[in-house]
């Protein structure tokens, strides 16, 4: 695995220089961790599903810019992005529908728990996770659509030819 990445870094035909690739390789995990934190702690600290999702998507976009689009599509393919996008939206709506089990649409039916704990605030955390997944997939899909459908007459594509 590590050898593959090293080979990818030395390969200068795709993406940017090896300096950028090395830094991106170390920064990727941190960016994803930060995005996941923003999503998961959305009910306790500033942030939430949307901003965390955009951070997660920007991690993949950094990967695309540094390594070229083949690498990024290998990590999060078009089919996977589509499925994640749809299932995130569906999960959010289903959580809303589950509110009918206790009363009305979008009722906070799970026990609220203790304030300031991670697992508290009922449906807010699952909703945040659903929105985070949806936003990650959709923002990345829009970026890939812009980049791949050729509306960017980008230098990257011309270099690859």
């Amino acid at each position: 695995m590590a050898r593959d990445v090293d080979k990818e870094i030395r390969d200068t035909s795709k993406g940017m220089t090896s300096i950028v690739k090395t830094i991106v390789r170390f920064a990727m995990g941190i960016i994803i961790l930060f995005g996941a934190y923003i999503v998961l702690y959305g009910h306790l600290t500033p942030g939430g599903g949307f901003s965390g999702g955009v951070i997660l998507a920007s991690a993949f976009i950094v990967l695309t810019l540094a390594f070229g689009k083949d690498m990024a599509l290998g990590k999060l393919g078009d089919k996977a992005a589509s499925i994640l996008d749809n299932s995130g939206a569906l999960a959010f709506a289903i959580i809303g529908l589950l509110g009918y089990t206790a009363g009305y649409y979008f009722l906070n039916f799970i026990d609220h728990g203790t304030t300031f704990e991670l697992f508290s605030a009922g449906i807010i955390m699952p909703c945040n996770i659903a929105i985070g997944i949806k936003v990650t997939a959709s923002v990345f899909a829009i970026f890939m659509a812009l980049s791949i459908f050729g509306r960017f007459i980008s230098a990257l594509v011309e270099e690859e030819e």
């Binding site: 500033p46 939430g48 901003s51 599509l73 589509s82 996008d85 304030t115 829009i142 890939m144 812009l146």
Partner: protein
């Protein structure tokens, strides 16, 4: 604190004017970025870290997309000599705007002065009703969750629209290619398309 906010606002106005007037497309994109980052600092100073985070993140994303879109494009703006008629009309409308804005701005209350009844209710009962300490998220996903569902639907629709419009190949003629997935194309297809472009 308001004086810092004023400086930021003036900086943002200068940035917007440069973004409109700059001849080079790339420098105007960068000026748009300056406006966005100043806006996020302004949000932070006004005590809205949620929206400041979102602003920073979305601004970075949009800058990446815009710079990547503009960096290889024809960068010079079209030169056109402005006639006297557009100048005079815009002057008249600006005067009208100032005239009505003067009376309108006399009426509005002081900056952040009366806390609205609904929001003060949220602040008071939010933590105990929802269990969330971040009131913004509590409003978004508990009190106003139905609105957030609408927002998610808007995002979904925008993606469907983007995929529909950005497809390079129409679906008029029935060919073998049309039976392919409508999603992201294969690399070979794109390269073929670029040859013809």
């Amino acid at each position: 604190m308001e004086i810092y906010l004023l400086i930021l606002l003036i900086f943002m106005i200068i940035g917007s004017i440069i973004a409109i007037e700059a001849k080079n497309l790339l420098s105007s994109v960068i000026s748009v970025g300056v406006v966005g980052f100043c806006l996020s600092i302004a949000f932070l100073m006004l005590g809205a870290p949620d929206i400041a985070i979102t602003q920073v993140v979305v601004e970075i994303l949009i800058l990446v997309v815009l710079i990547r879109a503009t960096i290889t494009m024809d960068n010079t703006a079209i030169e056109e000599g402005g006639g006297t008629f557009p100048f005079v009309t815009s002057l008249i409308f600006f005067g009208l705007f100032l005239f009505f804005a003067f009376f309108a701005l006399l009426e509005i209350p002081r900056f952040g002065e009366p806390l609205m009844r609904v929001s003060s209710e949220y602040l008071k009962t939010g933590p105990e009703k929802t269990g969330a300490t971040n009131i913004v998220t509590a409003v978004l996903l508990d009190f106003r969750a139905y609105d957030t569902l609408g927002e998610a639907t808007v995002l979904f629709t925008s993606i469907v629209g983007a995929f529909g419009i950005l497809r390079r190949r129409g679906r008029k003629h029935k060919r073998e290619i049309d039976t392919e997935k409508v999603g992201i194309l294969e690399d070979a297809d794109i390269k073929k398309d670029f040859k013809g472009f």
